[in-house]
Symmetry: C2
Subunit: 468 residues, 2 copies
């Protein structure tokens, strides 16, 4: 086939995979989506990416960019298309400590950036469970969130510049490292979160921050979500905004933890209705240097705040990590979430966000709707509470497609009704397109369609994703 | 005229100004631009804005949105067009302290938001000299910067949601208060910084932060810019990123201060080559409560850091504010900048940004180019140093248009050559369009033009601005 030969001319034959060689790229992490690509191409440079896109544009063949393959919404489904894997563009080009930036290619794995920053006593604060596989191109294209958003923002907030190859093969060089730049429209943020439908991100300039010298980490039982929000706001004031994680785990989570991961220790002997995993990071030496009794000021201060809250009845119980091992144990409990959630089938997993003060309203309304649809169904709602982001999962009693669809729709409907979003951090991909059609403002959809048509008039970039 | 009558039907006759009534809207703050609008319309609601835009779209008449009129680049030049002043849409609709948000209309003045946030012990951290006049619609449309960007980011970083009326009069409701939302393209950031060329912003959801309980403010003399960057990075680590301002004033500034504002006190008896105005804000009670000797921990710590830096020769002199009055004195010195700069004519004022570690390179190169073009010329470069943002002004010896243009071009050329931007925070407007044509990446310009055509096909929204 002429196209395959032409692709081989661009990248060398070893980097154009076809047939069985594409097996590793032909399904997603969840196993829900399986496809047969025309070929998988692995370019080594932005020039090769540009040549591939020119070729595919001329041939009218769809192009689907792919990274670490850790997405959850079928965003790299590529039946009959050319998959563009940027895994060979995996160089950290530069770290400039004085300017606090990292210049990276699209195929660099997130944990490699963490390691490289650490060598300079700096940190790239974006982190989530799939950090050992997720690549720059993927986490930028989905504007990934994770556990530290409450302090450092989503991916978007951590990116200074991007390099993009457009549908027609032209290179859009926005590799700025500037903190301030107002020269026309904000094109950078248009490509971040566009899931590869407007262009292919080939490199980025990332912000780094001072590495934390110490953490105060605690598991904290609270009576409810309103009190949790008060506690978050108080801690933000007391720490100068140094709360890095504020995660919510309900009693149902601890039950499932005991069932599926008995090796992990529950934080409390009692199962409280609501447990928070709170982490505060400090870079100031005076907060991180041990006192005479060996304790850290940041830990002592968190302990004092929690003790006072306990005296007021706002905190029911609390346990603080005294060692890095105890801290790791607490995080292991939290990071078992995906495993625990996906262990029971059938399930409807969702990723919604809400106004911070409407989170309890959502849970109350959603439990009622769940049981109206399926009286025997179970549910699990864990949250990046500081961001208003619930991963709500329903476990229906039967694997019935209309029921699953009705549950998925109910979650979106309740979120939107309360001023929330039906996709907080996982993006739209293929699986949430019906939800986009049903719940996104039609004017917004029309503006998106116009932008898509303006930048990809043939509709060849990751077709069938994001837009209904 | 039928159009004027139709406008009067929408807003009532008192809110359609023509002829001499438009005088206040017919020039910009600098006095460089003067124009005669067809009319100035002052709608009271987004529905009225929508009706006006539908009317003007049907009539093919340009619409120029205007706010507080404090822009510096002729961004509201409106010869023959309908000016849309949002000054009557000046309601702060809501402040929700637990969620840390303010919902505001486009005509609210920045300082009114400051005052309203303060009542809830919160702050809206965006601030700059024109805060008593600048309106929401204006500072969002220009993605304004100012003095606190080093800690809190540009306007873009402080906006959660926007409401926009499109060129055809449809309302795009993106009034989200969510911290995480990945439902399609980032339309919000497309309108922020678009200077009214893609739509008219009518309302916004803004982020609030805990109000600082105390500040440590100092004037610090340093030997040069490389040392200043080191000091900034050290202070960021020591304070957990609490540096709110890091401003640079050269000796030339102090000379001009003495000449034009003898009422203001210079920070030091000696005129050092480089002075920094540093401010650290703290919200933690333990940093803000006076010690036994009456001093504040945050001030004492800054003093210690500066004393150690002085011992190493990295700081030449320093003076700390012990009272709010002393702090206000220091800021008065900084905020006299516009007055001092514009006092001498002719001048070429610019607004550029640079990679943080290339700032000295720019100054060295620029001084040489200045004197090559005009050996007797003088210069003044003040900076929001923490953001890499210079306000560089050249004072040529003669008011000669080609010389002024050559100077303006030289500044842009040197900034771009060093990886910087020719417009950091003031935007493009009318005055920087030639610079856009000369120095912006042509691919980026083409993408912007496509987006403009997709959203405003008749080209009626603030025509002739931003895009060359």
């Amino acid at each position: 086939m002429a196209l395959i030969d032409a692709l081989r001319d661009i990248t060398g034959p070893a980097n154009v995979l076809t047939g069985d060689e594409t097996a590793r790229y032909s399904h997603d992490w969840t196993g829900k989506y399986v496809w047969t690509p025309l070929a998988v191409v692995r370019p080594a440079s932005r020039e090769e990416v540009a040549a591939i896109l020119r070729l595919c544009a001329a041939a009218g063949v769809p192009v689907v960019p792919t990274g670490g393959g850790t997405g959850l919404n079928g965003g790299t489904f590529a039946e009959g298309g050319v998959m563009l894997s940027l895994e060979r563009m995996n160089r950290i080009r530069e770290i400039r400590p004085a300017s606090r930036i990292a210049v990276v290619e699209a195929g660099v794995v997130l944990s490699a950036i963490h390691d490289a920053a650490t060598e300079h006593d700096l940190a790239f604060p974006l982190t989530f469970g799939a950090r050992g596989s997720a690549q720059v191109g993927g986490f930028l294209s989905t504007n990934a969130g994770g556990s530290n958003v409450v302090r450092f923002g989503n991916t978007r907030a951590l990116v200074l510049g991007v390099e993009v190859v457009l549908a027609d093969g032209r290179v859009l060089d926005l590799m700025s490292e500037l903190r301030k730049d107002n020269t026309g429209y904000d094109l950078r943020d248009l490509f971040i979160g566009a899931e590869g439908t407007l262009g292919v991100i080939t490199a980025a300039v990332l912000k780094l921050v001072p590495a934390a010298r110490a953490h105060a980490t605690a598991m904290v039982a609270v009576p409810g979500l309103a009190v949790a929000l008060d506690l978050l706001n108080r801690l933000q004031g007391e720490t100068g905004g140094a709360v890095e994680a504020f995660e919510y785990l309900p009693a149902a989570y601890m039950e499932r933890l005991a069932r599926h991961r008995p090796d992990l220790k529950e934080p409390f002997a009692t199962r409280y209705p609501s447990t928070l995993l709170i982490e505060i990071g400090v870079t100031a030496p005076h907060e991180a240097e041990p006192l005479a009794d060996g304790s850290l000021p940041v830990v002592t201060r968190l302990e004092d705040t929690l003790a006072m809250a306990m005296a007021r009845g706002e905190v029911l119980d609390a346990t603080l990590a005294r060692t890095e091992a105890q801290r790791a144990e607490m995080w292991a409990v939290r990071e078992a979430a995906a495993e625990i959630t996906f262990a029971q089938k059938p399930h409807v997993d969702t990723d919604i966000s809400l106004p911070l003060d409407r989170m309890q309203d959502f849970l109350t309304a959603m439990t009622a709707r769940l049981h109206a649809l399926d009286p025997g169904a179970d549910e699990l709602a864990i949250a990046h509470l500081g961001d208003g982001n619930f991963h709500y999962t329903a476990f229906p009693t039967r694997d019935d497609a209309p029921l699953l669809a009705a549950l998925r729709n109910a979650v979106a409907e309740e979120a939107v009704r309360l001023g929330g979003s039906f996709s907080a951090e996982h993006g739209i991909g293929l699986s949430k397109r019906p939800t986009m059609a049903a719940h996104k403002d039609p004017v917004a959809l029309d503006v998106m369609a116009r932008i898509k048509a303006a930048l990809d008039p043939q509709g060849l970039l990751n077709p069938g994703k994001v837009l209904p």
